[in-house]
């Protein structure tokens, strides 16, 4: 986004510096703040976990199905880190392969989520059913939006890599998108445990 600002700080005639710290700092700051974002939704869910207003509750969860899609998302972290690794080794073909694989796994997870939502709606759980329904759909929905944004970024990068425009010093770079993607994954690790597995 701003190599120029870095340049500016040091005068253009000085040697070109590693520009990553600026972007990476901002990315870690952003991820830190995302904890508050998801923390608010997770605690809302915990508060309303048993507030089903006569509608269905957590008994409608299909744990084997969600476990499978959780596994898919977990593995997408592997492909993401392999993409980053290939990029560090300047292997563009490998990078592209792993980026596409990550996007594909992410899309699979999203498809699973859409299927799950459809099932739940059939069983009578919707946003206006109960505070439980409201907080469930909001939490998993916002996570899904994060995944969707990630899939879009990964796809954009895969396309950019075709024309060799995948740079280290752009806002849209493999390492930053990777951080974001892993973050979305760790949030799902929490959601999977707290929402699905802890059915007290």
């Amino acid at each position: 986004m701003t190599d120029a600002a870095i340049d500016a700080a040091h005068g253009g005639h000085e040697e070109h510096h590693d520009v990553k710290p600026v972007r990476k700092t901002a990315m870690w700051v952003f991820l830190g703040s995302e904890f508050v974002f998801f923390g608010a939704m997770i605690s809302t869910f915990l508060l309303y976990r048993n507030t089903t207003n006569g509608g269905p509750g957590s008994e409608i969860f299909d744990i084997p199905f969600t476990s499978a899609s959780s596994f898919v998302l977990l593995m997408s972290s592997l492909t993401m880190v392999l993409a980053h690794n290939a990029f560090e080794n300047k292997d563009m073909r490998q990078t592209r392969v792993w980026l596409v694989a990550t996007a594909f796994l992410g899309a699979t997870f999203l498809a699973g989520q859409i299927f799950e939502f459809t099932e739940f709606i059939h069983e009578g759980l919707t946003l206006p059913t109960s505070p439980f329904g409201s907080s469930f759909y909001m939490l998993t929905g916002f996570h899904g939006i994060h995944v969707a944004v990630g899939v879009m970024l990964l796809t954009a990068m895969a396309i950019l890599s075709l024309s060799g425009r995948l740079y280290d010093d752009r806002g849209l770079n493999v390492e930053l998108v990777g951080l974001y993607w892993h973050f979305v994954d760790i949030i799902w690790i929490v959601i999977f445990t707290v929402v699905y597995l802890l059915q007290v």
């Binding site: 590693d18 830190g32 904890f35 929490v190």
Partner: protein, 119 residues
């Protein structure tokens, strides 16, 4: 969650380390190899399998199972953060930013839930 007073000196150093002047190449130090990444993923998959099994084991009903799930989830969380996100190998500044967000959010929302007697 801003910076705790006692951490300020440390923070200053961390920040100074982040100034682009210093030619830190630590980004590229000690990262796991692709093979290790596969092994980490395998471990994550196995832990997930155990997690899924926990609710169906009657002996693990109640607080034991709950704590086990939290521990297993925590291990997965930590592995992805430390190894896939490379935070283990990163500057203290990034660790601080990430952990302050995590710890702060947890502390605040646990207090919120406590005021509702929800946990």
């Amino acid at each position: 969650m801003t910076i705790e007073t006692s951490e300020v000196e440390e923070l200053g150093e961390a920040a100074d380390a982040a100034v682009p002047d210093d030619h830190h190449e630590e980004d590229h130090l000690d990262h796991p190899t692709p093979k290790q990444y596969w092994l980490i993923a395998l471990a994550l998959g196995l832990i997930t399998a155990v997690e899924i099994a926990v609710p169906s084991i009657d002996a693990l009903d109640g607080p034991v199972g709950v704590s086990l799930l939290f521990i297993l989830g925590g291990i997965k969380f930590g592995m992805v953060v430390a190894l896939f996100m490379h935070l283990k190998f990163e500057k203290p500044l990034y660790k601080m930013l990430f952990l302050v967000g995590l710890a702060g959010a947890m502390a605040m929302f646990i207090v919120v839930l406590l005021t509702f007697q929800a946990i």
